[in-house]
Symmetry: none
Subunit: 190 residues, 4 copies
DNA sequence: TAGTAAACGAGACGGTACGTCTCGTCTTCTT
DNA sequence: AAGAAGACGAGACGTACCGTCTCGTTTACTA
């Protein structure tokens, strides 16, 4: 039924790799589509054909580099599991290639609602949602105070992470995560 | 000794007003210096003479529009005072002219360390610091659990605000602030 | 016995018709190979397989549309015969579909020597040559001044036609042809 | 009353020189505005600010290189004066830099009526007109057959020149001009 | 009351990147 | 094998802004 040349997986991979590398080196703003195409050895049109914006390229690059990261570990021990997931998030935030991409995508989202929707839907929302789900499940199992508002708890856990990443540029490490979890979740466990 | 014309206060005001208006209408990204100068009826050089970047113009515009906002109310009742200050922060975040400017400045800070330093120093840092100071003072007065880490507490209060502003675009209102304060600070008061 | 598909006469005809139509409508420059293929319902490769350039396509289209036009009428009366041939040339020049093609081919020839050679060889040269031949024959029969330079005479007859077509865009009709012939050839006849 | 920076004569000259050089080397078609700007060391916008099209740049370059050429010599001897003017025209046609420009402008005129109008008005028309004027004056002085149509005579003189330049690419030199003048004008002088 | 020097509006300049278009080639599937 | 379809690398198109640099003009201090 269909016919014609198919999308080149080779070109796709070269473009995503180039986009990540240039954003890591020069930052999101200075990573122009021209430069990404140049380094990838591709034509600009090949980028515009498959992605609407630079943000979309980088979002796909992150998803490719980080496929299964939405998984939430379940050892039966919620505090440890939360710490594990958040350690993973922090690892991405401080990754020298992915960190600038995350920060750039959030920056772009401030001026472009489509970027905001897309990144929230595919990058930031799912991680948040699995955490919420796990906390609710924990409440149903009677191991977490049922009075607590799970969404608020997750805001209290993730909010400070993004706050440090984007605003205060304070230390972001596993110890900080452990402090957060200890302050927010531990008092509510049974 | 010196002579010649002095800086025109009229031009300065026209430029700051134009910058705020255009950023409110078109967003931070599309608010070019050309457009700001055009609307202000000024030459581009007049902007470049007095400000190094678009971010610096907007930062000054915000400070002008919002001079005394660093003040932290002190009624002797810390929970209420915290709520008051945070209500003020939320009011700026949701202001139709200032909100986009805050978000734009944080976005610009992700690609430009000078913007990051300047905005943190003059806009975001001071509000954070007065809150920390007040919490420490409250601990010294014995009205707040002395074990608590005041910096962490402030992260728990402000982090979720920025998280909603920049990432999840969830509801940002006084009720949410009250929830935060109730969950984070109230359990530690004596 | 033979194997493989043969050249599709159907595709060839669709391409030549599309090329003529688009050149007539949009002019030579805007008649891109992409557009010709699109309108013909053919693939671009089918054009590139059989013709080296857009000019070659159009040249073949003109030849197809105008096969036997090199014929020079011979009624024994040279002045009338010249007029007849030149009326035919003018008819092509002012044809709404072929005129733009002629002008476009001459335009393309200015930047591409291969187009210049090919069009001169197959389109413009032969008409010129039969006229020269006839004039020489006429001299040999003693009906035309043998001192006259036949090539120069043909330049004097055709030059003004192309000059009006390409440069001055003055009136090009049978009356003008008759004036030319009367001024150039008639005084030399016996 | 007026204000602002003035047009840079230096940039203008660099652009015109670059345009002539590149057209001479690569031909009209391949002389892109990007390449002209690159070689001139100017920005593209500086070209687009002052000229609507590549053709307009080259037309001005020709006029600059060839300011007073519309002058028609008047020694009182019309045949010699015609030869002089036409020798000048031929000199431009065969100039290695200007020749390709003339041919390119005429080529562009075939697809763009504005180019056709502009070049006819400023480059090709005036030369034609002074020749017509001179022939008419000569008729009024009684030194040229008053029956002759001056416009037709000029077509007979110039037409073959353009015909050779654009179509047959035959020899274009002073001798050919002299033949033309001898065949067309001399028989009509008194 | 001049003279003078800096700030002003205006806008041209050399650049970079934008997103689109077409080129001529290459690849895939269909006939 | 030839064709329709269409992706690919390449690169020019014309536009928007960048930050710098003249231009006259206006303003306000100095002599």
């Amino acid at each position: 039924m269909s016919s014609g040349a198919r999308r080149s997986e080779e070109a796709r991979r070269a473009i995503l790799a180039s986009a990540l590398a240039i954003t890591g080196e020069l930052g999101y703003e200075r990573a122009s589509i021209e430069a990404i195409a140049r380094r990838a050895g591709s034509g600009k049109q090949t980028i515009y054909r498959w992605w609407p914006t630079k943000a979309a390229v980088l979002q796909e690059a992150v998803e490719d580099a980080n496929g299964a990261s939405t998984a939430f570990p379940d050892t039966g021990e919620v505090v440890g599991d939360l710490r594990s997931q958040m350690h993973g998030v922090v690892a991405f935030f401080v990754d020298p290639e992915l960190g600038p991409v995350f920060r750039g995508l959030i920056a772009a989202a401030q001026s472009d609602p489509e970027v905001a929707d897309a990144t929230l839907r595919s990058l930031f929302g799912p991680r948040r949602q699995v955490a919420i789900n796990r906390l609710v499940a924990e409440q149903q199992r009677g191991r977490l105070d049922p009075q607590a508002d799970a969404e608020l708890l997750v805001d209290l856990l993730y909010g400070p992470l993004y706050y440090r990443l984007l605003v205060t540029r304070g230390v972001l490490d596993d110890h900080y995560v452990d402090q957060l979890v200890s302050a927010v979740v531990v008092p509510l466990t049974r």
